[in-house]
């Protein structure tokens, strides 16, 4: 059972490290109970860093975190591409897909001689889906000498990095984060290559009408991303008129029991449930809805499109579940070789946002090539002018708002345990 080989040593080492750390740092302080109240709020972050670092040191013996430094000039050596993505915390799994997607693009471009005669180098920084940590990570990337940024997953954590990269005149190509808040900043250097919540909601409503739904229940998980889609969908449904919102409710992410929301849905008896959160809770909700005897349709948003949704929900329960999603490797014709390359390079299949992250690096390289420079202004100009560059979602051309001209959302359905294309909505 190789599963727990290092457990004892890791737990022992990390507990010991934390104990020593606490004794050193806090042992000598005398703290009043009032201060203790305020400290409680700050403690977790200190420890998140401490414990993660300790755990990493214990398992790997060396720190990727501790590397870096070195060359800071922008005109020679490899071109530094910053990516602030979640590598710890609850969104860490997606961070891995993104990291690999980016690395694949970097490897391919470097194998062909790089850009402007220089190699590309990824500077991955952990944003942990946390605004404070993401801002610190962005600052670190800037001081490491990044010339372009291709990160951004959680919208809430990406938002504070915008002014940091903007001030340093570093163009940002955001592969995944897609809240309207990012667009509303109207920054000239920020470009989004994932469809936005508004576009996703429009696609969802279009399909609901087309499919003849009379009533729907909208369920979100209280995150900015999820609420954005649910609220836009509700608005679009109201102006469309033929489909009624029978229920609009939220759940708390990270729990296991969603029986109360299931109970509310059973009471509202909608034709369709539209879940706009992520796959972990989505899988559980589908499972618990089916166990409660729900017969109607279930549709999920792009955050839930992941093979794990099916395994968590149970294959029989997930069969027929619909999804609004931008193109994925599985639904793109001719992506088989890409999937094979990815799987060969990383020993695991690509997941959500692997393609967008891959494309973000390619778009960045293309813009620098067009600009014949890594200068922020020139690259931003080249990005604005880009027209017809092929990425997974189709030929790329940015709108004046720097979003995709076509969100590219289509409807997928689970068939035989896999998400397959059902309706292109054209």
């Amino acid at each position: 059972m190789s599963y727990f080989t290092h457990q004892d040593s890791v737990i022992y080492l990390t507990v010991a490290a934390v104990t020593v750390f606490v004794r050193r740092v806090f042992g000598l302080h005398v703290v009043t109970s009032k201060e203790m109240q305020t400290m409680k709020l700050r403690i977790p972050k200190v420890f998140a860093v401490g414990a993660v670092a300790a755990a990493m040191l214990a398992t790997t013996g060396c720190g990727g975190i501790l590397g870096g430094g070195g060359d800071k000039t922008a005109d020679s050596g490899p071109i530094k591409i910053a990516a602030v993505i979640p590598m710890s915390g609850s969104s860490a799994p997606t961070g891995v897909y993104m990291k690999n997607g980016m690395q694949l693009a970097v490897n391919e471009i470097n194998a062909k001689g790089g850009v402007l005669g220089r190699q590309l180098a990824l500077d991955l920084e952990d944003g942990a889906c946390d605004p404070t940590q993401a801002a610190a990570a962005a600052n670190k990337a800037v001081s490491n000498g990044a010339v372009i940024s291709v990160g951004g997953y959680c919208s809430g954590a990406t938002l504070p990095t915008l002014p940091i990269f903007s001030k340093a005149n570093i163009p940002m190509i955001i592969p995944a984060a897609n809240s309207q808040d990012l667009v509303n900043q109207k920054l000239p250097n920020v470009f989004l290559i994932n469809g936005t919540g508004v576009q996703q909601a429009a696609a969802a409503v279009k399909f609901m009408v087309k499919d003849g739904m009379k009533t729907v229940a909208l369920v979100d998980d209280n995150t900015s991303y999820s609420k954005d889609i649910a609220a836009e969908t509700k608005k679009d449904l109201a102006s469309e008129g033929s489909v009624k919102t029978a229920l609009a409710t939220s759940v708390t992410a990270g729990e296991s029991d969603y029986s109360s929301v299931v109970h509310d849905i059973m009471g509202a008896k909608p034709d369709m449930v539209y879940w706009t959160g992520y796959y972990q809770e989505g899988g559980l909700i589908i499972n618990q809805l089916k166990a409660a005897g729900y017969q109607g349709k279930i549709m999920v948003a792009d955050g839930s499109v992941d093979p794990s949704l099916v395994t968590i929900a149970g294959a029989a329960n997930a069969e027929g579940v619909l999804a609004t999603m931008t193109q994925t490797p599985d639904t793109i014709k001719g992506a088989e070789t890409w999937i094979a390359d990815y799987t060969k390079a990383f020993g695991a299949a690509p997941g959500p946002y692997s393609t967008q992250s891959y494309d973000a690096v390619r778009v960045a390289a293309e813009a620098m090539k067009q600009a014949k420079s890594t200068d922020g202004d020139a690259v931003t100009k080249a990005l604005t002018a880009i027209d017809g560059f092929q990425i997974f979602s189709g030929p790329l051309k940015f709108t004046p708002e720097h979003t995709l001209s076509n969100g590219g959302f289509q409807i997928l359905a689970v068939q035989g345990g896999k998400f397959v294309l059902k309706d292109t909505l054209n």
Binding site: K40, A54, N222, D264
Partner: protein
């Protein structure tokens, strides 16, 4: 209505199992063991590892297999709880309370990211999933696995209660809770009892972890965080330090959530639940069954 009550009681029994550990430890050494929710998570992962290594288990055997895994996991998580106490809490027993509180938070993160580093950050799907017939009972839809889990939870809680009330070890625990110095002077081996308390509390949390994994099907390394907070809340509602209070608090919290969600909508559920908690504690700071502690001089 009956459905709501059943849903509330079912979730509440999970809260209660975890709340017991919080309450027992607090009762004895006045420590808020924030790592306790993560013991629940570790329990789920141990159950996962054991079941995965065994291979395919026929559906007819799943309950027997689950019971065996449950026992095994309880022993291992109990041991981990004891280990954490020995390494992270015992050296600080006479330090300021804040220091121990912080090691507890540290132990919590250590467990979370330790498991994440070993098992990977992706959610795992339990190899055995309890599935069975559902039937109607007074208008509530109840499934066979729910009944099995409820029975296990109730048996665990009842046996703990009689253990605390009837055995000499239980009496020693109560004695330390009342007055640690006095108990020491009367010849109670305080360290041994504290170790044993951690073992029992962690074993119960580990059992809850395996049960949650088998019933809900999904486990991940952060699954202990929210339920840990909820169980802590349940322990406070019931009167922290009081064993029966923890059980009652867990069930009550489950019911509050079920009804809050029904009356005000899902987005207001936690607002309602914790609003009630604040109001309740303002009126009765010691919780349902807690006793007012007078400072002994």
């Amino acid at each position: 209505m009956t459905q709501l009550i059943w849903n509330g009681l079912f979730v509440g029994s999970f809260y209660a199992l975890i709340a017991l550990g919080y309450s027992m430890v607090y009762g004895i050494i006045k420590l808020l063991n924030f790592a306790h929710g993560d013991i629940y998570m570790v329990g789920a992962f141990i159950g996962f590892a054991v079941l995965s290594s065994v291979g395919v288990i026929p559906a007819s055997m799943s309950i027997t297999a689950l019971l065996i895994v449950l026992l095994l996991t309880m022993i291992i998580t109990g041991g981990i709880g004891v280990g954490i106490e020995y390494l992270a809490y015992r050296p600080l027993r006479n330090s300021p309370r804040l220091a121990v509180l912080i090691t507890a938070v540290g132990a919590s993160f250590t467990l979370e990211y330790g498991v994440s580093a070993i098992a990977g950050p992706n959610p795992k799907v339990f190899p055995v999933r309890l599935e069975g017939e559902s039937f109607d009972f007074l208008g509530a839809r109840i499934s066979a696995p729910q009944i099995v889990l409820m029975v296990i939870a109730v048996v665990l809680m009842l046996s703990l209660n009689s253990y605390i009330q009837r055995t000499s070890m239980g009496r020693a625990m109560r004695a330390i809770a009342l007055d640690p110095k006095g108990a020491l002077l009367m010849g109670v081996n305080v360290n041994k009892i504290i170790t044993w308390t951690f073992f029992i509390g962690s074993a119960l949390a580990g059992a809850a972890g395996v049960m949650a994994g088998a019933y809900y099907g999904k486990i991940d390394f952060l699954m202990g965080f929210i339920i840990g907070l909820k169980a802590f809340t349940a322990a406070v509602i019931g009167g922290i330090g009081n064993i029966k209070g923890a059980m009652l608090g867990g069930l009550l919290l489950g019911l509050l959530e079920a009804f809050g969600s029904q009356w005000l909508g899902g987005q207001w559920r936690d607002v309602f639940t914790f609003g009630v908690l604040i109001a309740f504690l303002t009126l009765k700071p010691t919780g349902l069954l807690g006793e007012r502690v007078t400072e002994r001089v």
